[in-house]
């Protein structure tokens, strides 16, 4: 029984004091979508980034930059294997802003041989993978010295005008995946409706009441939910249709989930799974939103980002006011 009690303790301890991922209080990249989550070799793919500046005070504005070329088929598909190559392409102690593509979108071209140059695939269809890189920075970008002690460290940093490396709240280095198949496509999941307390949201937003409870577990939460059409849960052919070289006879569907972010207040959970890969539509998909006394400004934004587990992404955002 002690273990069960420990489980209970752990579960109850989920309401920890660490700021969760859904609280946006600095420079953040929340998502990157592509117009073709599954592209074909040689196609051009447009990336669109959702970046948010949640800083209370902004010494310098946040800007977003894309690296102009993708990293194709790194060893074992691991993104950090791209870093050493990226590091050699750019000089150190140099403002690199002009070398990158500023903005929230970029179009990247995939090589024609992206599938052919990928290592043999076990248990699925042949594919190729490319990584696009995007940086949100409230300063300027420089390449940082490659540190052998941490080969997984991104090779770029964000610096202020005095050349000081800015903190994590002023800078994010992110990557986005682009998968290439010979014939397969994948659609981005679409958020049909987002509701708060059962009411469908539109761009006019909604309002919240502050919670004055000392223990946030006692706060009344606004119930946030999202609806995605069942047809959006596609069959996951990519991971092993019959006759594809894998030994699979059974197909499964995608997993679809929604990640939530708020610039004021806090969500109960960082994400809600809407469709489980094995159980299908889950009966309980609600999330909770509340704003504690003194937390945040008088207004905020709720971001709902829908994902599928094959690289599909879309999002919607809604303003709210705090009473």
């Amino acid at each position: 029984m002690k273990h069960a009690l420990f489980l209970t303790m752990l579960l109850l301890a989920c309401a920890d004091t660490e700021p969760p991922a859904n609280q946006v209080s600095g420079v953040r990249i929340l998502a990157t979508s592509t117009d073709k989550p599954f592209a074909k070799p040689g196609e051009s793919v447009t990336l669109n980034v959702l970046a948010v500046d949640g800083r209370a005070t902004q010494a310098a504005p946040m800007r977003t930059y894309f690296l102009p070329v993708p990293c194709v088929n790194p060893e074992r598909d691991e993104v950090d294997k791209c870093f050493a190559t990226l590091a050699t392409d750019y000089p150190v102690r140099t403002n690199l802003n002009a070398r990158f593509v500023e903005g929230t979108t970029v179009t990247l071209a995939l090589p024609n041989d992206i599938i052919d140059t990928h290592a043999p695939v076990r248990g699925g269809l042949p594919y190729g993978i490319a990584y696009g890189f995007v940086i949100a920075c409230a300063g300027h970008i420089e390449r940082i010295e490659y540190r052998s002690a941490s080969a997984f460290t991104p090779p770029f940093g964000c610096f202020d005008e005095q050349g000081q490396l800015l903190s994590k709240d002023d800078y994010v280095f992110a990557h986005a995946r682009i998968l290439a198949y010979a014939d397969l496509r994948n659609a981005n999941p679409v958020l049909d409706v987002v509701t708060v307390n059962g009411k469908a949201l539109d761009q006019s937003g909604f309002s919240l009441s502050r919670c004055f409870e000392s223990d946030e577990r006692n706060c009344t939460k606004s119930k946030v939910d999202a609806q995605i059409a069942a047809s959006a849960q596609e069959l996951d052919f990519a991971n092993g249709p019959a006759g594809s070289g894998s030994n699979v006879r059974e197909r499964v569907r995608e997993q679809l989930w929604v990640s939530y972010f708020v610039t004021s207040g806090k969500m109960e959970s960082d994400l809600s799974v809407i469709y489980d890969a094995q159980d299908g539509k889950l009966p309980k998909t609600e999330n909770g939103l509340f704003v504690k006394e003194g937390a945040g400004a008088g207004a905020g934004t709720l971001y709902a980002v829908a994902h599928d587990n094959r690289g599909g992404v879309s999002w919607r955002q809604f303003p709210f006011t705090i009473q």
């Binding site: 009690l5 489980l7 209970t8 950090d80 890969a277």
Partner: protein, 870 residues
């Protein structure tokens, strides 16, 4: 050599041993109207004024009385007086008997019945017999217990005559009695309560046994003595060393240099384990402490899967129910447990860690027995009985029930758990004993665990959504054992069963089912004095079905999330054959020396190779004194075949070879008394061909350390030990990399435990542990995966460079047994973490790896259990 105790106990109610203490000397004459209690006063019903010639009645014929059966039936035992008013006629006969006060248990009725048979010399006045009335008191004393002992030679079943048996009562008084020609002793004057029976017979191991005696019961016990090993001087030629042979009656000495055995009573009473059989292993040296919820056996720095678990020689897939809640074989079904942390015998193979061999208890042959137990974790029962003609059976079962009371708590916490962890297990055995050396046991045993929840993986969608796990296994087993003669013994174990594991979380799933059939046959033959050969085969055939949807490579640093492109699915069936044969020779070439060379060959169908494992164990006593210092050492090669998943064509690869380990051990044993022994071992082992990134077999490991254990074992009143392990375990992906600390490496493991029987059914124990915290890696923030919505981490090239704080904990346990003769009631209180130290069990990074928090472990936790036994 372990003394073997086999007892047959029967308790017979004794109805006739009551002491009819008719206290005539204190009988009171009663004169009408008089209140004085003067003995033998002449009664004078109407005029008793002239007393000069008066004489009181005098008892002529006594009529003893028995302690009332009604009082015995309800176990009402006390010394009690019943005073009767007797009316005597002029002939001295009793014409009336009236108790002074009524009672509930038949004392007055018994006294009245007896009193009517009394005959007195009548009272007289002036020489003339007259009628009279007197007070007459009966004094009831509860019948004493009777102890009937019989001492037999365990080997021949012949009685041991003229053997001294010492009986020591709870107050320390002792008496020594010698057995008669039938090996029997009968004592009728013992006080009720605990009595220690000590038997000292020349050429036999001493026996000590504690029994609780009760009023009005006869306790019959048969003790079987094991002949003490002795040196046999063989015919030798001049110049040769005198060979020494260990007389093999009962268990032979272990073939291994390190064998740690736990008896069922020890396992049941180790504090902090809830009396669980296999969790007790975690208190032994060489075993790392698993964190709560991880039912692991990390032995001498090996992975959990490297340790092989056997039940009477048949491998089973699990040792614990979910999360180490309890072991799959309950203590009640266990006779003993042997644990080999390394350098185990050639009998065992296909493992690089340790070996745990659980021996199921034989069904009892004497009478119907039963047990019911309830604690906060589970409810269990055991029933066993003789079936006649040497057959007996035992059935046992267990079902956890904390899901019943924990469910509402978790519902309130909105934990999203739809099926709380629950488990069943059951064991059924029938055994035929042709003799003490010849038996057949047929068993079926298994376990079934399930847990289902809707899990939130934080910002990690891969581990969010539906979560469920189910594990089941069962075995049908036959164990045949026959000691044909003093020189030849055979043992065969055959089993068939099914193992099923089903796991799903988020986008991942795994279903694996295997149908293992195993056969193990071993023949032991004395070749000549000082040489004994053990030869056997060890076969395992496992058809399997596997269906998995998993990441093609589990995430290391930099791949915390697994998008669809890296998932793969595999479905298939196959069969694996493991064919092993071994031979092991026990050599005692000269006095005090024991050399056990062994050789094992294992063919594995998936590797299409035969692995050859030479092993040797050596022990040298420095004198023939049983308390002599003994040096020991061992060296051997061990192999472990790749798992089903490692050889799967999607998630692994073909062409893998068995993982290999070379293990060395050197140390000493030093007994200080019959009960107290010190052992020390230094070990070093290498691990090679470890599978890295699912496909490469370049991984390496090494583990080394020292284990010491001062153990007090064998005494009926106390057991305990002090153990300390100093160790280091490391891994690396290939020979070019730096060594990293193994994730479960624990530098210092100190355990002190003891359990003492206080008498009157009380036992008190405690366990203190101080153990190094587990290592962990301090990650940094890496690139944000904006497709899946979570951060990758950075990590240094060398993992596990940080270490959690020291773990320390005190557990205490108190047991109380009430013996009601025909049944026993017992209860225990097991308090874990008495001083409520919240140890750090995990260091968990936040969502972007910029901060980390400590997850702390168990608070103080009392557990209460109650048990009834027939």
């Amino acid at each position: 050599m372990e003394a073997f105790l086999n007892r047959r106990r029967s308790r017979l109610r004794r109805l006739q041993h009551c002491v009819p203490f008719a206290v005539f000397g204190s009988a009171f004459a009663w004169l009408s109207g008089a209140q004085a209690q003067t003995p033998v006063q002449v009664p004078a019903p109407s005029s008793a004024q002239s007393a000069a010639q008066a004489h009181a009645p005098v008892l002529r014929t006594d009529a003893p009385v028995s302690y009332p059966p009604a009082a015995i039936a309800v176990k009402h035992f006390e010394t009690i007086d019943v005073v009767l008013l007797l009316t005597l006629d002029a002939q001295g006969l009793v014409t009336g008997a009236v108790p002074e006060r009524a009672d509930e248990h038949g004392f007055s009725a018994a006294a009245v019945d007896a009193a009517r048979k009394l005959v007195f010399t009548p009272a007289s006045r002036d020489g003339v017999p007259i009628a009279s009335k007197i007070k007459y008191k009966y004094h009831f004393v509860p019948p004493s217990p009777v102890l009937a002992l019989r001492i037999l030679d365990r080997e021949t079943n012949k009685p041991l005559a003229a053997v001294d048996v010492t009986l020591t009562g709870a107050d320390g008084t002792a008496q020594t009695i010698r057995t008669d020609a039938k090996g029997s002793v009968r004592v009728e004057s013992l006080a009720p309560g605990l009595v220690r029976i000590s038997v000292a017979a020349e050429e036999f191991d001493a026996i000590a046994s504690d029994e609780t005696l009760s009023f009005a019961e006869e306790t019959s016990i048969v003790l079987r003595a094991t002949r003490t090993p002795k040196a046999v001087v063989a015919e030798v030629k001049a110049g040769e060393d005198v060979p020494e042979e260990v007389s093999v009656r009962g268990e032979r000495p272990p073939r291994e240099v390190v064998k740690r055995s736990l008896t069922a009573s020890e396992m049941a009473q180790i504090p902090g384990t809830n009396g669980d059989a296999l969790r007790a292993v975690q208190s032994l040296p060489g075993v790392a402490r698993p964190p709560p919820f991880f039912g692991q056996l990390v032995v001498r720095g090996s992975e959990n899967d490297d340790t092989v678990i056997y039940v009477d020689g048949t491998p089973i897939p699990l040792i614990y129910h979910f999360g180490g809640l309890s072991s799959v074989i309950p203590t009640e079904a266990t006779e003993k447990l042997d644990f080999y942390p390394g350098n185990f015998s050639s009998v065992y193979g296909r493992g690089m860690g340790g070996v745990v061999d659980v021996s199921q208890r034989a069904p009892k042959q004497d009478k119907w027995r039963g047990m019911l137990q309830l604690d906060l974790v589970d409810a269990r029962f055991v029933a066993e009985a003789p079936l006649g003609k040497g057959w007996a059976f035992r059935a046992a079962g267990r079902r956890s029930w904390f899901d019943v009371w924990l469910g509402p708590v978790l519902d309130q916490a909105n934990a999203g758990i739809s099926t709380l962890p629950r488990y069943y297990d059951g064991q059924f055995s029938v055994q035929k004993d042709w003799s003490a050396n010849h038996s057949l046991r047929l068993s079926v045993f298994g376990a079934d665990d399930a847990f289902k929840a809707t899990a939130s993986g934080g910002s990690d969608a891969t581990t969010s959504g539906g979560f469920g796990i189910s594990t089941k296994f069962w075995r049908a087993q036959a164990v045949y054992r026959n000691r044909f003669s003093e020189d030849t013994e055979a043992r065969a174990t055959a089993a068939f069963g099914n193992d099923t594991v089903s796991f799903g979380i988020g986008t991942l799933s795994l279903q694996q089912s295997t149908f293992p059939a195993s056969l193990r046959v071993e023949v032991t033959q004395k070749v000549e004095p000082g040489i004994r050969a053990n030869t056997g085969v060890d076969l395992l055939y496992t058809p399997y079905d596997l269906k998995a949807r998993l990441p093609i490579s589990f995430g290391g640093p930099g791949e915390q999330n697994v998008p669809g492109a890296r998932l793969a699915t595999s479905e298939g069936s196959g069969a694996r054959l493991f064919a092993g044969a071994y031979t092991e020779w026990e050599l005692t070439p000269w006095k005090g020396t024991r050399i056990v060379p062994g050789f094992r060959a294992d063919y594995t169908s998936t590797t299409e190779r035969t692995d050859l494992s030479p092993r040797i164990n050596v022990r040298q006593a420095l004198s023939s004194d049983p308390m002599a210092f003994a040096l020991k050492g061992a060296l051997g090669v061990f192999f472990q075949p790749p798992s089903v998943r490692e050889t799967d064509k999607v998630f692994g690869r073909s062409g893998l070879r068995s993982k290999q380990s070379i293990q060395a051990d050197i140390g000493f044993d030093k007994p200080f008394s019959e009960y107290l022994k010190l052992s020390f071992d230094f070990y070093y082992k290498t691990l090679d061909r470890l599978v890295v990134n699912q496909t490469q077999q370049t991984g390496q490991g090494r583990s080394f350390g020292a284990e010491t254990m001062l153990r007090y074992q064998g005494s009926p009143r106390f057991f305990g030990w002090l153990s300390y392990t100093l160790s280091r375990s490391e891994r690396r992906d290939d020979a070019t990399r730096e060594w990293s600390t193994f994730a479960n490496d624990q530098t210092h493991v100190l355990t002190v435990l003891g359990s003492y029987e206080l008498g009157r059914g009380w036992r008190l124990g405690g366990r203190y542990r101080a153990i190094s915290g587990n290592p962990y890696t301090s990650f940094g923030r890496g690139s944000y995966d904006s497709t899946t919505g979570s951060y990758n981490s950075t990590a240094p090239d060398t993992l596990n460079t940080e270490r959690m704080p020291l773990f320390h904990q005190l557990d205490v346990r108190a047991d109380k047994v009430w013996d009601f003769g025909s049944w026993k009631l017992s209860t225990y209180l097991d308090i874990q973490n008495l001083y409520n130290y919240r140890a750090v069990e995990a260091v968990t990074p936040n969502y972007d790896y910029t901060r980390a928090k400590n997850t702390r472990g168990l608070t103080i936790f009392p557990s209460l259990g109650i048990r009834g036994e027939l």
